[in-house]
């Protein structure tokens, strides 16, 4: 299983805190996001990815506490049992 947690505006938008999905060999972050969108009726992927499928700056994605920016980006592999956090942080002061 893979557990996906939503934070801040994503939690407000999707009206849910988490989603658990079955793990499949070779799963990466991009594939996971697509599968999450397929499970959730509210469109949200356009807030994370642009038309080219590039991650939009504004949300951090953590796989087991590590920002995918330092891993393999959207191609970061996801292990069975992993926790993935989608967090659009506040930026103002």
């Amino acid at each position: 299983m893979v557990r996906v947690s939503f934070y801040s505006l994503l939690r407000l938008l999707l009206k849910r805190e988490t989603l658990s999905l079955s793990w499949t060999p070779g799963l990466d972050v991009r594939q996971l996001l697509t599968r999450v969108q397929a499970e959730i009726p509210t469109p949200f992927l356009d807030k994370l990815l642009d038309a080219d499928g590039t991650l939009i700056p504004g949300t951090i994605i953590l796989v087991d506490r590590h920002n995918i920016h330092h891993l393999g980006g959207l191609a970061t592999p996801i292990a069975d049992g992993a926790t993935v956090a989608l967090f659009p942080p506040g930026a103002g002061g």
């Binding site: 947690s5 934070y7 801040s8 505006l9 939690r11 407000l12 009206k15 805190e17 991650l55 700056p57 504004g58 951090i60 953590l62 506490r65 920002n67 920016h69 330092h70 956090a85 967090f87 942080p89 506040g90 930026a91 103002g92 002061g93």
Partner: protein, 225 residues
């Protein structure tokens, strides 16, 4: 008219005790950014009885600041935030030493020696990252940020925690001013002040752990980093 610490702090001493109060009085906190978060954090720390406050800001008070920047009023528009903040904080608690440091935080910024806690109340990621890189001496770093009615607080410790820049890597600063509500800023500032006080008391609650708060649905969640 004068008073004693026991009288001035009579309503909080039953909550956190005399030892915490003594620690607060000995503490030096740097508040980076005296805007929506920093004005309230500085004010609450002054009311709590912190010993010394270093304030860093290079801005002037503008009309859009008045919805949330609690140290300023209409008559202050156009004045340097640091000057107004120093006046107001002195009026609130004359026992607190306030040291204004004018300017913006970039790669050239150096955290003064002897700081116990750095409070990141800034409004942009590049300055936040520069501040954290500079905050290697003081030890404790409490990050706060707000946007709309959402925000987060996180405590990092020099030497053991991940860098702020690594945790929030990949973010870009918006080109336009971000929306912030009065209650959103006050909520995050209050949580930051609570955590700063806890750090000073030796019991941080958010070390390597982001507290995410949203007023839109009153959610509260933790995210380990």
């Amino acid at each position: 008219m004068s008073t004693t610490p026991a009288q001035r702090y009579a309503r909080q001493l039953p909550v956190w005790g005399e030892e915490r109060q003594r620690r607060l009085a000995r503490s030096r906190v740097l508040v980076a950014g005296v805007g929506g978060l920093g004005a309230t954090v500085a004010q609450l720390l002054a009311r709590a009885g912190v010993g010394r406050l270093y304030l860093v800001d290079g801005g002037t008070v503008a009309w859009p600041d008045l919805n949330r920047q609690t140290l300023y009023g209409e008559g202050d528009v156009g004045r340097a935030k640091l000057s107004v903040a120093a006046e107001r904080l002195a009026a609130i608690n004359s026992a607190v030493e306030v040291i204004p440091l004018a300017g913006r935080i970039d790669e050239s910024f150096a955290v003064p020696s002897g700081i116990d806690v750095v409070a990141d109340c800034l409004d942009n990621w590049p300055s936040r990252f520069a501040l954290h890189r500079a905050a290697t001496v003081g030890g404790w770093f409490v990050h706060g940020a707000v946007q709309g009615e959402q925000g987060q607080v996180l405590t990092l410790k020099a030497g053991t925690s991940e860098s702020l820049e690594r945790i929030f890597a990949g973010l870009a600063q918006a080109s336009e001013p971000l929306p912030v509500t009065p209650d959103g800023a006050a909520t995050i500032a209050g949580l930051m002040t609570n955590e700063i006080s806890a750090v000073i008391g030796g019991m941080p609650k958010l070390l390597d752990r982001i507290l995410v708060v949203g007023l839109g649905d009153f959610h509260c969640a933790f995210l380990e980093v």
